[in-house]
């Protein structure tokens, strides 16, 4: 099974990357000075400092700390949040549903709008519709999301008083943050869908389908789009990092109590345990997502399967 072996190699590389990130975090944490100082302040008594040292295991030799650190992470134990005294994992688990809801909504919105507009632009190549759509696409991915978010709040929440601007209690609350986060993806997907579709639309099988009398909607969606999907999926894989970075900002702008806002608060209060837990969680997610994208390639493109079994 050659495709299986290819997948295992990728998985091993992913695990190695996670181990490197964990180790680099450990090294950087030890370089950055004593976290206890940040926690208790410089007025604390030596007894209090000693108490906290023992509590967080900072009184042991470095290699022991490293071993128990790795062992803890392998069991999903990232330690206690320094400022909250609750397990970091618990805090993340509480925030994750908010992030997933916002992220998925924004992503699906961006994908549908982007692919839709990209197809429309490709079919109307070099006509005014194409120009208009592509100008909006460029605007969409050049507008920084924090600025777009504030513009939307100014117009829709403060000026016209149509939509709420903070929290994510109802679907109505989700509209502005999802549009803010999704616009960037819509712009990117529109650009790539357009060029991928243009590539495919002139291929012989599309011309043949046309000659055969296949109706144009079916021709576009059934014959052309699946073949244009490979570059689009590549972009999805590459853009996941932007989704993570974008949600950090958008959650802060719209006061959504998700992982992004948790991270910003943790960085502001210098809560290392929480920051590293989120860092490691994000890297594992990113690596898994890229493995998934890789698997999807093989599923949808028979040529890839063939190419890999030959190697």
């Amino acid at each position: 099974m050659m495709p299986g072996r290819h997948f295992l190699v990728k998985l091993a590389r992913g695990l190695l990357t996670v181990w490197l990130i964990v180790t680099l975090t450990f090294v950087a944490l030890n370089l950055s000075g004593d976290p206890i100082d940040a926690l208790v302040g410089d007025q604390a008594s030596p007894e209090l400092i000693a108490h906290y040292r023992e509590k967080f295991g900072l009184d042991r030799p470095l290699w022991q700390q490293y071993v128990s650190y790795i062992a803890g992470i392998a069991q999903g134990d990232f330690g206690l949040s320094l400022s909250d005294q609750r397990p970091a994992v618990e805090l993340i688990a509480g925030a994750l549903p908010h992030t997933l809801r916002l992220g998925l909504t924004a992503f699906v919105l961006g994908l549908i709008l982007g692919v839709g507009f990209g197809i429309v632009a490709a079919l109307n190549r070099n006509r005014p519709v194409d120009r208009l759509v592509m100008s909006f696409a460029v605007l969409g991915f050049s507008l920084p999301n924090f600025f777009l978010g504030i513009l939307l709040i100014l117009l829709f929440s403060l000026h016209w008083r149509l939509l709420p601007s903070s929290g994510d209690a109802t679907a109505l609350h989700l509209i502005l943050p999802a549009v803010t986060l999704g616009t960037h993806f819509a712009g990117t997907f529109a650009r790539f869908t357009r060029s991928a579709m243009l590539e495919v639309l002139n291929k012989q099988y599309v011309v043949a389908a046309r000659a055969k009398g296949v109706p144009s909607l079916r021709r576009v969606l059934w014959h052309a789009l699946p073949n244009a999907a490979i570059p689009i999926i590549t972009i999805i894989g590459l853009k996941l990092g932007d989704l993570v970075a974008g949600s950090i900002i958008v959650e802060t702008v719209f006061a959504v109590p998700g992982v992004g806002r948790l991270l910003v608060n943790a960085v502001t209060s210098r809560d290392f345990a929480l920051v590293q837990a989120i860092l490691i969680m994000v890297s594992v997610t990113m690596i898994l997502a890229n493995l998934a994208v890789d698997a999807i390639y093989t599923l949808i493109d028979p040529r890839m399967r063939a190419a890999r079994s030959e190697n």
Binding site: T25, V138, S142, P144, A245, I248, R270, F272, L279, S283
Partner: protein, 293 residues
């Protein structure tokens, strides 16, 4: 890449001035020139000290909303002149982005040379680090570093310097390995020159144009990164200012004084937009294999 100004067809062979300099590119070039002027001459252009507070003159509207000409763009919540702050914010943002991109380019290029020179284990280690960096959104890395090391101005520039080194390292490594196998490098080595000489005098000038193109790609990214982090209150912090810091601080006054937040936001948008428009245009023109589709 498909851009709205590149819609000339392949049969438009007679090159007209309009096709060479589309309106959008001209606008972008003018804006970029303006940014350079503001960056260089902020001290002369700013009518006030960007930190000078005047609590009696708080939240004055800009002149186009019925304000007076002493404060053309109004004042903020502490009575500071918004125009002066905007001018200095542009200077600080461009300074951080220039510094950060430059550091990243230098580190990356150096590591690329080292990887290509030593090969073997050293190369594996450097390329592995590059993979790690590429596998995470840089925003995460920057936030983790800020959490660990705090947020001084120089430290912040250093953290921005971590951005994008891996692209420079990969580019340089690839080109140097290819160049090492070519006749001119072998000839110089055969004449008895040390490896350093070959790299600095012969290979580096050859790959400089590739590195400069990469620099123009990274620069707007670092501006966005800096403004995002400063917006969150984790990048450039008061009493210094940056476009992101102004936007983040002005957010609290959207109902009463929207211009405090919106003006720096427009500045960020126009800056990154003009740089990418010019970058795309230059790349389209330099690379004849890119057919405008």
């Amino acid at each position: 890449m498909a851009m709205p100004w590149s819609f000339r067809r392949a049969d438009d062979t007679p090159v007209r001035a309009e096709a060479r300099y589309p309106v959008l590119v001209v606008v972008a070039l003018v804006l970029l020139a303006l940014i350079v002027v503001v960056f260089l001459f902020a001290d002369w252009l700013a009518p006030y000290d960007y930190r000078a507070q005047a609590l009696l003159k708080r939240l004055r509207p800009p002149v186009f909303l019925g304000g007076t000409t002493d404060h053309l763009l109004g004042t903020d919540e502490l009575g500071r002149d918004v125009l002066s702050r905007l001018i200095y914010a542009i200077r600080f943002s461009v300074l951080v982005a220039l510094g950060g991109t430059l550091i990243g380019a230098l580190i990356g290029t150096a590591l690329g040379f080292i990887a290509a020179h030593f090969r073997g284990f050293v190369e594996e280690a450097i390329m592995m680090l590059a993979d790690v960096q590429a596998s995470l959104p840089f925003m995460m890395i920057a936030l983790a570093l800020i959490a660990m090391f705090g947020g001084g101005f120089m430290l912040f520039i250093a953290i921005m310097g971590f951005y994008g080194w891996e692209v420079f390292a990969r580019l340089t490594r690839g080109v140097v390995i290819a160049a090492n196998t070519q006749g001119y490098a072998a000839a110089v080595v055969a004449l008895g020159a040390p490896a350093r000489h070959v790299y600095l005098r012969h290979i580096l000038p050859n790959i400089l144009s590739v590195l400069i193109v990469q620099f123009t790609l990274n620069f707007p990214q670092v501006i966005l990164l800096e403004t995002s982090l400063s917006f969150l209150g984790l990048g450039i912090r008061p009493p210094l200012t940056s476009l992101g810091q102004m936007l983040g601080a002005g957010r609290a006054y959207l109902t009463t004084a929207w211009w405090i937040a919106i003006l720096p936001g427009m500045a960020i948008f126009l800056t990154t937009m003009s740089i990418s428009i010019i970058g795309d245009w230059v790349r389209d023109r330099l690379d004849p294999t890119l057919q405008s589709r």
